[in-house]
């Protein structure tokens, strides 16, 4: 009964989204006020319906209703309750339902927090979001219905993939989706602006907080995924350039470019077309990511779909969205007036350079990700593009971006002089060079890459501190200023972490039996025993390790090898001690003869800074969003004037 209610709610949601996707847009075009006013209530009802559907599915998981196909495939009576809720989005169908639920959540948020925006604009934005919802709901209903019944009902479910039975994984998909889907709002604002022909500072100001919010969520989502891969997969890496990781990284790169481009559009009125293109691009990348992950063309822990109809459906959706929005862009963009002019050396031009570099970086990652698919589709054989490709291309492209980002906030709009910039940047420059020489040498051997990495991190961090100190002299800066510097500081922390791990981590695969000791990175790892430990739905073999540094405090690590009852698949659970400046990491490989095990031991300096940096970035986004000027109730007579002018046009 409950699953049928859920199913019914999804169908109703489709009907509502059809209304939301058509009438308000038509109303905005023909000036029918009653149609325009439909947008807000429709968005609210849509969210309510999808929340009901999602609750119904969660309930089915909670009560172990194995007569629902999706529940039977992704849960098990022994699965702990917390993971049962995580299992709701542990598979293809449920994760799509989550996707649409979040989309409707963003839609209703736009409806609620846009009281100061004129109704026509709101109707257009909500209408575009409604159209996207229609596409995804059709996808769910026709190819991936989570409420399909299984008759006769299964005795027990076939369980959630043990890899996904982890708290990190409960929050990773929702965060990531919040980001993916959030770019739909930036996209909808851009399309609405194109439709109305009103690409102005007011539009940029409206899009900015939404874009920043989506970007912050995406940053956290990617970081959570990376952290999960680090401690759960037992390989000790934090980024593998796996196509699925890239799929989430592509919208992040374009989203980052979009954030900065929007800033220029708001402040100076320049880059309008470019900003619109980026908004379209960022959302297209989100859809492409969904396609890559969900269509089954890629193989990984995320790829569930083997039904080719699904891939085709998302591909068609992608083509429709990208094609129609680019067509609209080509048709309306020439009408967009150019913004303020700027000199060759100005904050605008430097921002543009950074923007172009980010887009190029995104294109190179996209190429590496799609190239094997392309070659395969052309029947030219099967190939794989490995991480060295991405490192060789991505790192050099990003270095100038990192170099620029420290100095750009100092550059003046319209025109700036290099001499002036150089005068103000000499302290960070000198400190960066000193640190580049010192730090890697202290850690071990100096290499060009570690030197550059440290130099860039210090360059960004020090110039940030100096800029903050200077700004404080003229009173307390607004939240967006703090947000920007917090985000940039996050990048510095991240770059430092990546450089340290990349340059100075130590790794050893060894055969160990109780009593054996191995030294890695100055730490002594002693295996003192191996024992069996029961778990709620698995049994585990646990290694006991004592870790000491030069006779200092003893820390215990308990890596496990788990066997889940519901599958024959073993799982590695690493034993990690995380510190501020390093992680020590032990994971069990496989049993050898007697009590001996193959053991992997890592020393990872500053690895925590990688995710810490991401948290800083997301916090920076949060701060920037809270800036007062986004909440000012029609402070702007100018804004009103722009609206009136637009309505008249």
């Amino acid at each position: 009964m409950i699953p049928e209610l859920g199913q019914f709610a999804v169908i109703l949601a489709l009907c509502v989204s059809l209304v939301l996707g058509t009438l308000p847009l038509a109303g905005a075009h023909y000036g029918r006020r009653e149609w325009i006013l439909l947008a807000r209530p429709a968005a609210q009802v849509l969210f309510l319906m999808l929340a009901l559907a999602f609750a119904a599915l969660s309930w089915s998981f909670y009560v172990n209703d194995f007569s629902v196909q999706y529940v039977a495939n992704h849960s098990n009576a022994q699965l702990p309750t917390l993971f049962r809720f995580g299992a709701v989005w542990g598979g293809h169908e449920g994760s799509l339902l989550l996707w649409v639920l979040m989309l409707s959540g963003w839609t209703v948020a736009v409806a609620q927090f846009s009281r100061t925006l004129d109704d026509t604009m709101v109707a257009r934005v909500l209408g575009v979001l409604g159209l996207i919802t229609v596409g995804l709901l059709l996808f769910i209903l026709f190819t991936s219905n989570p409420f399909d019944r299984l008759l006769p009902a299964a005795e027990n479910g076939s369980d959630l993939n043990p890899l996904l039975q982890d708290p990190g994984l409960i929050f990773h998909p929702p965060m990531l989706y919040m980001g993916y889907v959030g770019f739909a709002v930036a996209f909808a604002f851009a399309i609405a602006a194109l439709l109305s022909g009103r690409l102005d500072a007011a539009w940029a100001r409206w899009s900015r907080p939404w874009t920043i919010a989506a970007w912050g969520f995406l940053t956290l989502g990617i970081a959570l995924g990376s952290w999960w891969a680090y401690y759960e997969l037992g390989w000790g890496g934090w980024w593998f350039w796996d196509p699925v990781e890239n799929a989430s990284f592509l919208p992040w790169l374009l989203g980052t470019a979009l954030l900065h481009s929007l800033a220029v559009t708001e402040k100076r009125g320049s880059f309008k077309s470019w900003t619109v293109l980026l908004a379209i691009g960022a959302f297209s990348m989100s859809l492409l990511g969904t396609f890559l992950v969900r269509s089954g063309v890629l193989t990984s822990v995320h790829a569930f779909a083997t039904d080719p109809r699904r891939g085709v459906f998302i591909l068609v959706l992608l083509v429709v969205v990208v094609g129609s929005s680019l067509a609209l862009f080509a048709w309306r963009a020439p009408k967009v007036a150019l913004g303020g002019s700027f000199a060759l050396m100005s904050r605008e031009s430097l921002m543009l350079a950074g923007n172009v570099l980010l887009v190029v970086a995104c294109a190179s990652v996209l190429l590496g990700t799609l190239y094997p698919l392309l070659i395969d589709a052309l029947n030219m054989g099967k190939i794989s593009v490995g991480p060295p490709y991405f490192n060789a291309v991505f790192v050099p492209i990003m270095m100038p971006v990192l170099f620029l980002m420290a100095a750009v906030p100092l550059a003046r709009w319209k025109q700036t002089s290099i001499k002036d910039l150089a005068l103000r940047m000499w302290i960070p420059g000198v400190l960066a060079l000193v640190a580049a020489g010192l730090v890697p040498s202290l850690m071990g051997t100096w290499t060009v890459l570690t030197g550059l990495g440290v130099a860039l991190a210090v360059w960004i961090a020090v110039s940030g501190v100096i800029q903050i100190a200077q700004r404080l002299k003229s009173g307390l800066p607004p939240a967006s200023f703090w947000g920007m510097h917090m985000g940039h500081m996050g990048i510095a922390v991240f770059v430092f972490g990546v450089t340290m791990v990349g340059g100075f981590q130590e790794e050893q695969d060894v055969r160990m039996e109780p009593g054996d000791t191995v030294t890695v990175g100055g730490y002594q790892f002693k295996m003192t025993g191996i024992r069996d430990v029961p778990g709620p739905n698995y049994s585990a073999t646990q290694g006991v390790f004592e870790v000491t540094q030069n006779g200092g405090a003893v820390r215990m690590l308990y890596p496990e090898k788990r066997k889940y009852f519901s599958s024959t698949m073993p799982m590695t659970e690493a034993g990690i001690h995380s510190g501020f400046t390093r992680d020590v990491y032990v994971s069990l490989g496989e049993p050898l003869e007697g009590k001996a095990w193959a053991v992997r031991v890592y020393f990872k300096p500053f690895v925590g800074w990688i995710w810490g940096g991401c948290v800083f970035m997301a916090l920076g986004g949060l701060l920037a969003m809270m800036d007062r000027r986004y909440r000012l109730k029609v402070k702007a007579g100018a804004l009103d004037a722009a609206l009136v002018k637009g309505a008249a046009a």
Binding site: L163, A343, V360, K382, V385, P396, P570, T572, G589, R600
Partner: protein, 146 residues
């Protein structure tokens, strides 16, 4: 004139950025692509000679042999077997009779030395490259018997 210069500088800068990126991309692609081959391909001498490549297939039942941290096994597409050795920790799902993909570059003592061994995250899931290898071998056999 000034405007023209500015435009030229922006366009030139953009083009050179794209050009450098393209050069980086092509260079990196060229040296970092690994071709997938099946065990039958390797037997037929179709594997690249001087570059790393990947073999997809099944780990042959009963072929797994451990020598401390080094593992010896056969990759098979049920038509031909290729001996492979790997030193290090294997992924959790690496098992006899299951699909796997190994990246190899050189041979030593009649075995291909694997630098990377991949098995998939899901026990019921076959890497498409492994499946592809089996399908191809199956087809060839079918063709011969017809």
């Amino acid at each position: 004139m000034k405007r023209w210069k500015k435009r030229a500088a922006i366009i030139g800068g953009g083009l050179s950025a794209v050009g450098i990126a393209a050069a980086l991309v092509l260079n990196a692609l060229n040296s970092n692509i690994a071709l997938y081959v099946t065990p039958s391909d390797v037997m037929a001498g179709k594997a690249p000679q001087s570059k790393a490549f990947r073999i997809g297939g099944l780990v042959k039942e009963g072929s797994l042999r451990r020598d401390n941290l080094t593992v010896h096994f056969m990759m098979t597409d049920l038509a031909h077997d290729i001996p492979v050795a790997y030193t290090g920790i294997l992924p959790d799902l690496f098992k006899e009779g299951k699909g796997a993909v190994v990246q190899v570059k050189q041979m030593a003592a009649g075995e291909y030395i694997a630098t990377e061994v991949l098995a998939k995250h899901d026990e019921n899931y076959m890497p498409p490259e492994a499946k592809d290898a089996l399908d191809k071998a199956q087809k060839n056999k079918g063709g011969a018997s017809l």
